[in-house]
Symmetry: C2
Subunit: 252 residues, 2 copies
Amino acid sequence: MCQLLGMNANTPTDVMFSFTGLATRADEHKDGFGIAFFEGRGLRHFVDHHSARVSPLAELVKRYPIKSDNVIAHIRKATQGRVALENTHPFQRELWGRYWVFAHNGNLVDFHPQLHAAFKPVGDTDSERAFCWLMQELAKAHCAVPTIEELSRTLAELTPRLNRHGTFNMLLSNGEALWAHGSTKLHYLLRRHPFGQAQLADEDLSIDFAQHTTHQDRVAVIATEPLTSNEDWVAFQPGELKVFVGGALFAA
Amino acid sequence: MCQLLGMNANTPTDVMFSFTGLATRADEHKDGFGIAFFEGRGLRHFVDHHSARVSPLAELVKRYPIKSDNVIAHIRKATQGRVALENTHPFQRELWGRYWVFAHNGNLVDFHPQLHAAFKPVGDTDSERAFCWLMQELAKAHCAVPTIEELSRTLAELTPRLNRHGTFNMLLSNGEALWAHGSTKLHYLLRRHPFGQAQLADEDLSIDFAQHTTHQDRVAVIATEPLTSNEDWVAFQPGELKVFVGGALFAA
């Protein structure tokens, strides 16, 4: 199973701690990794078809404190599509003058939608097909740039149509909000004042967030499995879509 | 003036030597840098709004031998648009199931085309507007995926319309071919057997390509100014569009 990691914050935050936790799980997920960081409207997008365990790129991400308000990372274990750079999540497209980033964990069976519009897959995964279809349907549903609320309503209609084809745990962001859909396995955590000590579940590493944060900071972390052993992770219900804005849950 | 660097080869080749040459010129071009590497249909895309002189990303590119058949790099000195990640070249879009990458050196005055189709700028540079317009016009001109020859013919019609608005030195690639348009300053070099010693123009560094190549290898390098002091660089004529495929000039 692939591993997903998402981060949404109200102040630019680095994900070195969480990404280190994710990368330790890369032993059995050696078919590539990717991570995308929004900085305002701008985007940094790193992909490598080497394991996050050995990739020099992953090493850079663990050491270079890139501060971002929306991050999506993915560690791949190939189910559909060859091990190749063009099949490595997260995927990226532009819509309405904003970059959109998407990562998927799961397997969609018999999913071959009509892609008649401006979004075509470059690789050959079910995941990129699902992303292109989502972008196409969002573009069809709204003629101008919609609000986060409107986008969330449309996505709540679209995600069950994907879920019907199989497992569809996914993360999607346009740099303003982060949408997360749980199908079989996805968890989230809201960090806010008072911040405490967090202990990585898989590695003998902990961090005291109180030393790195202010009272106003809010950070949401979304991951396939809880990354820390001493914090209150919440499991997504099957078919649940959640929207994160400014490090908190957005009530759509 | 920004600095452009392009590479097109018939066998995956690293650009560590040329990029080191380019990065030395980053002193007066401190408004960001970017580099995109095609690996087949896949793409690695690095951007940083820090100077290539100090960026940890640039350091990685100089040391990690990423082998690619088409590379576009850009070192920015801002003319239009703020210093921000979303204004950092090269820009990337998807068209016909292929990634397209674009970098521009120059300044387009009063260029505000109708962007009515699927390509909208995320940042606020004249360069990204020009790229979106090119993608839109390519998409309008061809209903299915055109050949390199057909694409070249369409681009030869479109580039003069951009050049009319000011300086338009540019590099464009879809991973199959690299198109280069010279307006005021652009040079290219064809390396092939017998390979020899190359000496960087700005730094006390040389490389013996004979030790790193086979008889069949062909590499085209395109740069704003010649990067080496002892090779036969050819200057683009004003308004000249050249197409590079497999490390050689493509006769369109």
